[in-house]
C-alpha cells in the first residue's frame, strides 16, 4: 500500500468507525441500556437490603398455649427472650445454627429487625377448649394459640406427634416464625426439664462448630473464603465478555442490514472500498464493546471490592479479559458482518445467525466441567478451537481451581489473533459480494463460494 493509499485508508476507516460509534453510543436507547443494568445492580445490592431494614411491624399481645403439663408456655417465653437477645449478638446466632437448624428463622428475624423494642409477646398457659381459643383469636383477644399434645412431652416423645399453631390472617410471616421457633424451643426445654436434664448445658454441648474459612493470596493477604464466589468469578468474566461481544456484533449485523436495505450501501461503496467499510464498522462497534466492557468490568470489580473478594481478580486476569475479549469480538463480529451483508432483513438473518450462536453457546454449556477441571481434555481441546478459544480460555485462566500451563496463554492468544485475521479476511470477501446482492438468502455453502470469488 502506498503512503497515499494508507492515509486514505486510515481516514475512511476512522470516518466509518466514528459514525458507527456515535450512532450507537449517543442514543437514548444505549444510554438507557448501559445505565439500566448498573441501576439494577445498585438496586439489588444496596436498596433492597436497606428496604429490608426498614423495620418490622410492632407486635403486642399474648399467645395461648394449651398443654396438659403447663410447662411449655414458660419455656417458650424463655426461648423468645433468648431469641430476641441474640439479635443483638450475631455470634450467638451462629452457634445456634448447628443445634436447631432454625438459623433461617433467626436470619429472617434479624433481616426484619425484630427486637425486644418491637416484640412484646406473652406466652400463657390455657386449659380452654380449642373452639373457645379459636373465638378468642377471631376477636383479636390473642395473637395465636398452640395445642401441644401430651405425647410430644413424653420421654421418648411420640415420633408422629405434632403441635398445632393457629395464627390470625393478619399475622406477619416473621411473627409466625418467631412464635413457631419459641414454642418449638419451649417444647424441647420442657421435655428436658421433665427428664431432669440441664437444657442449656446440653445445648452448648451439641452446638456444631462454625469454621472461619480464609483465603491466603500469593502476596500473603488474607480474605474470607467463599467457594461459590470462586466458582462464579470465571463465569462472571466469561458472561461479561460474551455480553459485550454479542452486543457489539449484533449491532454490527443490524447496522449492516440497515445500510443494505435502505440503499445507502452503494453510496458508501462509491466512497470507500468494502474492506475499508467493513474495517471501520468492525472497529466502531468494537469501541462500543470496549466501552461497555470498561463500564461493566469496573462495576464488577467494584462489587468484588465491596464483597472483600477483590484478591480473586488480578491485573493479569483483567489484561486477559481485554486480550481474549478483543479477539472474541473480532471473530464474532466478522461472522455477523458477513451474515449482515448477505441478507436483506433481520428475519432472513436468523437462519444464518443460528449456527453462529450455537457454536458460541458451547462455552456456556461447558462452564461447569471447564471450571471444575480447567486442565481436563474438554477444556484443553475446546481452548484450541476458534471461535471458542477466547471464551474457554477466560474461564480457565481466571479460575483458581487449578493453574493452567502458562504456555497455553500466549499460544491461545496467538491462535485467537490469527483466527481473528482469518475470520475478518473471509468476512471481507463475503461482505464485498454480499452487500451488492439482492434476492434470496444465500446458504452457508454459497457464502463460502463468495469468499472464493476473485
Amino acid at each position: 500500500m502506498t503512503k497515499s493509499r494508507s492515509s486514505h485508508f486510515a481516514r475512511r476507516v476512522s470516518a466509518v468507525a466514528w459514525r458507527e460509534f456515535v450512532s450507537m453510543v449517543f442514543t437514548k436507547a444505549f444510554i438507557f441500556g448501559v445505565l439500566i443494568v448498573p441501576g439494577i445492580m445498585i438496586v439489588t445490592f444496596a436498596v433492597i437490603p436497606a428496604l429490608l431494614h426498614e423495620g418490622p411491624r410492632a407486635v403486642t399481645g399474648r399467645v395461648l398455649v394449651f398443654d396438659p403439663s403447663g410447662t411449655v408456655a414458660p419455656a417458650a417465653q424463655a426461648a423468645l427472650e433468648s431469641i430476641l437477645a441474640r439479635q443483638l449478638d450475631p455470634a450467638a446466632d451462629f452457634a445456634e445454627v448447628g443445634t436447631s437448624g432454625a438459623g433461617g428463622t433467626a436470619g429472617l428475624l434479624a433481616a426484619t429487625g425484630a427486637s425486644a423494642d418491637t416484640v412484646s409477646v406473652r406466652f400463657e398457659s390455657t386449659t380452654k377448649p380449642e373452639s373457645e381459643l379459636k373465638n378468642l383469636l377471631k376477636v383479636g383477644d390473642c395473637l395465636a394459640y398452640a395445642i401441644v399434645p401430651e405425647g410430644l412431652l413424653a420421654a421418648p416423645p411420640e415420633k408422629q406427634a405434632t403441635y398445632t399453631l393457629a395464627v390470625a390472617t393478619w399475622t406477619s410471616p416473621s411473627h409466625t416464625s418467631l412464635f413457631t421457633r419459641s414454642i418449638r424451643d419451649g417444647i424441647v426445654k420442657a421435655r428436658l426439664d421433665a427428664a431432669g436434664e440441664d437444657h442449656d448445658a446440653l445445648k452448648a454441648l451439641l452446638a456444631a462448630p462454625e469454621e472461619t474459612a480464609i483465603r491466603v493470596s500469593e502476596d500473603g493477604n488474607v480474605a474470607p473464603e467463599s467457594a461459590a464466589g470462586r466458582m462464579l468469578i470465571p463465569m462472571g468474566f466469561m458472561m461479561l465478555m460474551w455480553m459485550v461481544v454479542f452486543t457489539g456484533a449484533n449491532q454490527l449485523l443490524t447496522s449492516t442490514i440497515e445500510e443494505k436495505s435502505n440503499k445507502v450501501m452503494e453510496v458508501l461503496l462509491s466512497a470507500a472500498s468494502p474492506f475499508e467499510l467493513l474495517t471501520g464498522k468492525v472497529l466502531g462497534q468494537g469501541l462500543v464493546s470496549l466501552l461497555m466492557l470498561g463500564i461493566y468490568g469496573s462495576l464488577g470489580v467494584a462489587g468484588l471490592v465491596f464483597a472483600a473478594m477483590a484478591d480473586l481478580v488480578t491485573p493479569m486476569s483483567l489484561l486477559l479479559l481485554v486480550c481474549y475479549g478483543v479477539t472474541a469480538y473480532f471473530m464474532v463480529a466478522a461472522m455477523m458482518a458477513a451474515v449482515g451483508s448477505a441478507v436483506n432483513d433481520l428475519k432472513e438473518a436468523q437462519s444464518l445467525v443460528g449456527p453462529v450462536m450455537l457454536v458460541v453457546m458451547v462455552p456456556l454449556i461447558l462452564w461447569l466441567p471447564i471450571s471444575e477441571n480447567p486442565n481436563g481434555w474438554v477444556a484443553v481441546i475446546t481452548s484450541f478451537i476458534p471461535p471458542l478459544t477466547p471464551f474457554v480460555m477466560i474461564l480457565r485462566a481466571t479460575g483458581t481451581a487449578e493453574p493452567i500451563p502458562f504456555w497455553q496463554i500466549p499460544a491461545t492468544i496467538g491462535l485467537s489473533v490469527m483466527a481473528s485475521i482469518g475470520f475478518l479476511w473471509v468476512a471481507s470477501r463475503i461482505f464485498r459480494v454480499g452487500v451488492l446482492m439482492q434476492g434470496k438468502t444465500p446458504t452457508p455453502m454459497e457464502l463460502l463460494r463468495w469468499a472464493m470469488v476473485r
Binding site: R5, R19, S270, A271, S273, R454
Partner: protein, 322 residues
C-alpha cells in the same frame, strides 16, 4: 480522441456474473468537461459498468483508468448518485453531509458549510438539523444529490438522476448539472429519459446486453442510417392512409401518430426521400408532408428494439393485432 485528456477510459472491459455476461468487451472514453449519457434497456450492463468505474467491483477482463490512474485511487475525486437512493433514516441531514464529506476527504465543518450552500441553491434552506426520515421523497433526493457533490468532484456519475422528480425539481436538478459542467465537472449519467439525455448530453453511449451499440455525439447519433422518416397529414382517415402508404416503394413502416391526424413514415435505407414524397402525394390526399424529427427515442428503439420493434409497427400499420 486525445487520450491525454481522458478522464474515464475503458478498454475491453468485461464482467461476468455466473452464466450472465453483464459487460462484454466495452471500450469507452470520456474527455474532461463532457456530459455523456449512458443509455440502454434494463439489464443492459449500465450499472455494472458504472460500478466498475467507481471501483465498487473489479472487471474480469480489460482495464479501467479514471483520472489517469486506478479507479480505487480516484474515489475521493468522484461523486455518485445511485439509482436506488438511500439515507440513514435516524441521522440528521447535517451529520449525514459531514459523514459523506469526511469519507471524501473534507473536514466535517467544511462539508456542512458547502452542504448548506448547495441545499440553499436547491431550495432547501434550514434543514441541516432535521432528521432524514422527516424529509419528503423529493427533499431526500435533493439531499442525496447534494451529498454526492459537496466535495466538488471532478467526475460526477448520476444513475437515473431525474426519476421521480416533478417538473419544477427536474428543472432545478438540470440547471445544477449544467452549472457543474460549466465549472468543468465531467458528468456521466445513465437514464431512460431520452429527452433529458438529448437536452443535456454532449455525447451518448448506448449499451445492450453488455455490448456497446453506439458511442457518438448527440448530433451524430440522431443521424443514424435507417432512421430517416417523413411525417404526413392526410386529409382524412389516417389509418387507411397509413396502410396505403405502407404499400409504396421505399417505405419501411407507416404508423398513425398519437394525435390521430398525422402519420409517421419510416424510410428504407436505400430509398430516395424525394421520390417517396412524390409517390405519397400521388397516392394519398395530404394537407402537408415533411421530414420528421428524429429523437433519441427513435435511435434507442431502432438500435435496441431492432427488428422486433419494426415488425410490431408494421403489424400495427396494417391493422394486424399485436
Amino acid at each position: 480522441m486525445n487520450e491525454t485528456h481522458s478522464v474515464i477510459q475503458l478498454s475491453g472491459v468485461a464482467k461476468q456474473f455466473g452464466a450472465v455476461r453483464a459487460v462484454d468487451g466495452i471500450d469507452f472514453t470520456m474527455q474532461r468537461g463532457e456530459i455523456c449519457g449512458c443509455l440502454g434497456p434494463n439489464g443492459a450492463g449500465k450499472s455494472t459498468m458504472i460500478r466498475m468505474i467507481l471501483a465498487i467491483i473489479r472487471p474480469d477482463a480489460g482495464s479501467i483508468r479514471v483520472l489517469g490512474g486506478d479507479p480505487i485511487d480516484a474515489k475521493d475525486r468522484l461523486g455518485y448518485l445511485p439509482e436506488e437512493r438511500g439515507l440513514y433514516r435516524k441521522m440528521k441531514v447535517g451529520a449525514f453531509m459531514a459523514y459523506m464529506g469526511r469519507l471524501k476527504g473534507l473536514a466535517g465543518l467544511a462539508a456542512r458549510r458547502r452542504a448548506a450552500e448547495a441545499l440553499e441553491r436547491m431550495e432547501l434552506p434550514g434543514i441541516m438539523d432535521r432528521k432524514c426520515s422527516d424529509l419528503s421523497k423529493g427533499q431526500q433526493q435533493k439531499v442525496q444529490f447534494v451529498s454526492s457533490i459537496i466535495h466538488e468532484p471532478e467526475v460526477l456519475i448520476l444513475d437515473e438522476p431525474f426519476s421521480g422528480l416533478d417538473p419544477v425539481n427536474r428543472r432545478l436538478f438540470q440547471s445544477e448539472v449544467l452549472a457543474l459542467r460549466e465549472r468543468g465537472t465531467t458528468i456521466l449519467f445513465s437514464t431512460h429519459q431520452m429527452e433529458q439525455a438529448e437536452r443535456l448530453c454532449d455525447r451518448v453511449m448506448l449499451v445492450n446486453r453488455g455490448r456497446k451499440l453506439l458511442d457518438a455525439s448527440v448530433v451524430d447519433a440522431l443521424r443514424q442510417p435507417g432512421l430517416r422518416a417523413l411525417e404526413a397529414e392526410p386529409v382524412a382517415g389516417a389509418t387507411h392512409a397509413a396502410s396505403t402508404i405502407l404499400g409504396l416503394d421505399g417505405v419501411l413502416a407507416a404508423v398513425p401518430n398519437e394525435d390521430g391526424k398525422t402519420i409517421r413514415i419510416d424510410l428504407a435505407n436505400d430509398a430516395d426521400q424525394r421520390s417517396v414524397m412524390r409517390r405519397i402525394l400521388e397516392s394519398v390526399d395530404v394537407r402537408s408532408i415533411q421530414e420528421a424529427r428524429v429523437t433519441l427515442d427513435d435511435v434507442f428503439i431502432h438500435l435496441v428494439g431492432g427488428a422486433a420493434a419494426e415488425s410490431a409497427t408494421t403489424r400495427a400499420s396494417s391493422g394486424v393485432p399485436s
